[in-house]
Symmetry: C2
Subunit: 413 residues, 2 copies
């Protein structure tokens, strides 16, 4: 057959996405499938069943990463890989992560039913805990697999209820026997929604990010002095929430101060004792800083850190700062990025060369092998929310680009 005419089955891809969206469905049309939850387990079970239906060899490693392998005609060559994650944010959407897994599955199904042979073997992957919202940090299992993070560090991470990653992995039955350790990979493509407004704003169908912004996470802990609010004069108070409020605004002003090329956000806050007539004495909040320029991001943090310490000292609220996680910016393989753009053109889709603001497992895979991503538009630029949406025609377009990028790459010498 003329492989250049091959196309994935858009209707089948939609059905797969709709089936997955039922697992952890929220009342407002989103999905809550937190990593290592019962919902995550059900989605994994369905995914594994689908892998076996098309004769893929399934491997589960000690981080719960799920791999499905399709042999190549030269089966000793390193595989071409593609995948993403089935976990979601709390009240997340129906596309983030799962589109890249179902997209790669749809490619595998298309190759299977057309009995297509490829030189390199091909592998599909679901990475455990990409989101990092239940257990920080994000992308932890691709990080362990890539040799960047320690397995036992990941096992020891706790959720807000004190449950450990390692124990929850065993509980849902997905601590597999294979070591979570990288093997030689020929190339990795990750298909994902954009999660930003660029493609929609410029009316393009396919995005080819030149790489991923660096991602730095910090955790700030403030100690104040609790007291009944009525009889305690304003003077002499040590109000941890007021200190945090100043720090949140300093974080928000940081990108302007640095002249742009950076975003900075406080997404999470806990306040103690959180009673309306007690002065807060314990606040924890997070800082997320991202830039294409790692040095710029670190310089920004150094400025902010001085601000935070100054605010804490002035308000008499001792501060502890944890530098939780730093993932450097990931410039993808130019050759593969160009292949995404070229393939989009060959298939008749408009495309955009851009950057990825969101972190992805592709970031760690980029440290293992040549890597690229394929983006499709997020309606209204919205993601990590229940109304997250992408047109079905765009889902189909992205999967077709993935199909042909994988085919070309898997036949390379």
């Amino acid at each position: 057959m003329d492989l250049s005419k091959l196309r994935i089955n858009g209707a089948r891809l939609r059905t797969s996405l709709e089936e997955m969206a039922k697992i952890g469905a929220t009342p407002n049309g989103g999905v809550q499938r937190l990593t290592l939850s019962d919902e995550d387990k059900r989605a994994r079970d369905l995914f594994v069943k689908w892998l076996k239906e098309i004769d893929l060899a399934v491997t589960i490693d000690e981080m719960g990463n799920i791999f499905g392998r399709r042999p190549g005609t030269e089966d000793n060559l390193p595989p071409v890989m593609s995948g993403s994650h089935v976990d979601s944010q709390p009240k997340g959407g129906r596309f983030d992560g799962i589109l890249g897994v179902m997209g790669a599955l749809e490619v595998m199904r298309t190759l299977h039913e057309n009995k297509v042979k490829t030189r390199h073997p091909m592998m599909i992957v679901d990475w455990t805990n990409e989101e990092g919202s239940r257990f920080a940090p994000a992308m932890v299992s691709s990080g362990v697999w890539a040799g960047v993070l320690e397995r036992d560090y990941a096992y020891g991470r706790t959720d807000i209820n004190g449950k450990k990653f390692g124990e929850e992995l065993v509980r849902i039955g997905y601590k597999g026997p294979a070591p979570a350790a990288k093997w030689p990979v020929h190339a990795y493509y990750e298909y994902h929604i954009e999660q930003g407004p660029m493609l929609e704003g410029q009316k393009k169908t396919i995005g080819a990010p030149k790489g991923i912004l660096c991602l730095h996470w910090y955790d700030i802990y403030l100690t104040g002095e609790a007291n009944q609010v009525g009889p305690t004069p304003m003077e002499g108070r040590h109000d941890a929430l007021c200190a945090a409020a100043e720090m949140i605004l300093a974080t928000n002003r940081l990108p302007d101060r640095m002249g742009g090329n950076i975003v900075a956000t406080v997404g999470e806050i806990q306040n103690k004792p959180n009673s309306r007539n007690i002065i807060p004495d314990g606040v924890h909040f997070t800082v997320d800083i991202r830039s294409w320029d790692d040095d710029h991001a670190i310089k920004a943090w150094e400025h902010l850190k001085i601000d935070l310490q100054e605010i804490a000292a002035r308000r008499g609220t001792p501060i502890r700062i944890d530098e939780t996680w730093r993932c450097p910016h990931a410039p993808f393989a130019e050759r593969l990025v160009q292949r995404v753009l070229d393939t989009a053109g060959e298939l008749g889709y408009s495309s955009l060369h851009m950057v990825s603001g969101a972190g992805h497992d592709a970031s760690y895979m980029n440290q293992v092998c040549p890597t690229a991503m394929i983006f499709v538009p997020s309606i209204g630029g919205r993601s990590h929310v229940e109304v997250e949406n992408t047109a079905w025609s765009d889902c189909e377009a992205g999967a077709n680009v993935l199909l042909h990028c994988l085919l070309k790459t898997a036949d390379e010498h």
Copy 2:
């Protein structure tokens, strides 16, 4: 006997307080006895048992208020009442509220064992849900009893888990048959820890507040736009937590701006979805404003409200403001306040004429009958915290002042 020589039993008072402190004891030496919780029920059971041991006639009303009555020689006269509350803040202390109940109990025990007869009957009371931290607002059951709040409004209040006040009252078995409706009262004294730094700072043993500051509670709700933080430019964000941070600081600056005579506090905040890589789209926080001058407090709120609306409009985070509760300042009966000061002097204790910054059930009782309070020092001015403390000798002193104030008042014509 010469009643002027009569004294309460300080050791017994201490034992009562220590027994009560076991119920809901926290690891750091405090107490967590949230209103209508299992701990509240156990404290009530013990209290009722103790009332019956000294032959007081126990009545429980439909708000769960517990009354113990001691007959007078002219038993048709209106009673002299005293009491406070057995509920506590989350991680609260061993004295707030319970001292006023155990202090009045100790007075009753002293009268009982000495077979003292009084002209007016005497009553002791435990008011349900003084704290208001599980179910807002505070002092709700003295408010209903005094005819200021509606019973069914109180029943419908929900805690953070959606449980209703009325249902929890039934669950712990303290929805009594008596109507929660005021009867004629000759006078009400409430014995309490100061919860502020004044007595300790001025080295005085007994405080006689001229009244209680007004207390205004507001609830603010902000709506932002959630999005993945990485790919979403700073420009065009609608970050509800940044808007809240500005508002918290505006609240904190309010007393300065008003030239003092007022305190303003944000004690409680909830942030949604509270994930470190999602822009916050829903924040709720509380504002607590107190002053001796009600008009001053309302004027301050009107200024603040304009600020909040301006911040919300500028940041594109729609705001909803609930004016949850306003309790006017309560000037106590001057004659009774003077009696507290005089009695302290007669017993050899130093004293201070002051105000109460904290709200108390005495605030609503002041609308029913002549009312006064007796304060003893809070070590370090701390309260509503586990380290809340008062010297045992001060606990005894306050109870002796209460004893003689009650004796004098109960023998009035």
